[in-house]
């Protein structure tokens, strides 16, 4: 399992390639990999968004992401999980979050990936501040 908070852009496919090469899961035993990548959009609630800053609560973030992953591993019988989440300034088009899970079975992998994303969105202490037209800024006030 790997949980990582990043303050620099990352390439999800490169990260997955590197992570799998570490041999953290035996390639011939997992069967199913499900994953989700959340990317910064240039539009939100009808407004053009030029950039974003992601604030977090260092320490609590890692602790809760670990708890969220352990919960999914136990409930869905996962073999492994990887979460990478950006913080700091982010440009439109850049990945914000990557969640990948490995399991022997397809249904468990889908369920676990969704469970981790839902828990992360509702419980992990991250906050987004958007930069709009004419230098206006706005805190995103709820997650969808």
């Amino acid at each position: 399992m790997k949980i990582e908070i990043r303050d620099q852009p990352f390439d999800p496919w490169q990260e997955l390639s590197s992570y799998q090469q570490t041999g953290s899961t035996a390639a011939s035993s997992y069967g199913a990999t499900a994953l989700f990548v959340g990317t910064m959009r240039d539009f939100n609630e009808g407004d053009r968004v030029h950039g974003m800053t992601l604030e977090h609560y260092p320490g609590m973030t890692e602790k809760h992401l670990e708890a969220i992953c352990h919960n999914a591993i136990d409930r869905c019988n996962l073999l492994d999980a990887l979460v990478i989440h950006r913080v700091g300034p982010i440009e439109p088009g850049e990945p914000i979050v990557l969640v990948a899970v490995w399991s022997a079975h397809r249904a468990a992998a889908f369920d676990a990936c969704r469970l981790i994303m839902d828990d992360l969105k509702s419980r992990a202490p991250f906050w987004k501040k958007e930069e709009l037209d004419e230098g206006k800024v706005r805190w995103v006030d709820h997650n969808t």
């Binding site: 959340g38 992601l54 604030e55 977090h56 609560y57 320490g59 609590m60 602790k63 809760h64 989440h85 914000i96 979050v97 994303m117 992360l120 969105k121 509702s122 419980r123 992990a124 202490p125 991250f126 906050w127 987004k128 501040k129 805190w139 995103v140 006030d141 709820h142 997650n143």
Partner: protein, 77 residues
């Protein structure tokens, strides 16, 4: 020792501070921690509270050495 009170995101900006220390004599629960940092400002319905990085319910106890954090609904992912 003392109690550490932290604020994040919009709440940090509204109250104009991100961290303060409170005396354990004056703060025995999260409501008292809020007043120590925010005075008479109402806490607001949606504010989340964590003690030592675990979510707690309103009225939760706070003891010397604890870290209490107040923050708006989370918007990660």
């Amino acid at each position: 020792m003392s109690i550490t009170i932290r604020l994040f995101a919009s709440l940090r900006e509204q109250l104009g501070t991100e961290c303060c220390q409170a005396e354990p004599d004056a703060v025995s629960n999260v409501e008292e921690a809020w007043r120590a940092v925010a005075g008479d400002s109402p806490q607001g319905e949606n504010v989340l509270v964590a003690v030592n990085m675990e979510y707690v319910k309103p009225g939760a106890a706070v003891k010397d050495g604890d870290e209490v954090a107040f923050f708006p609904p989370v918007t990660g992912g």
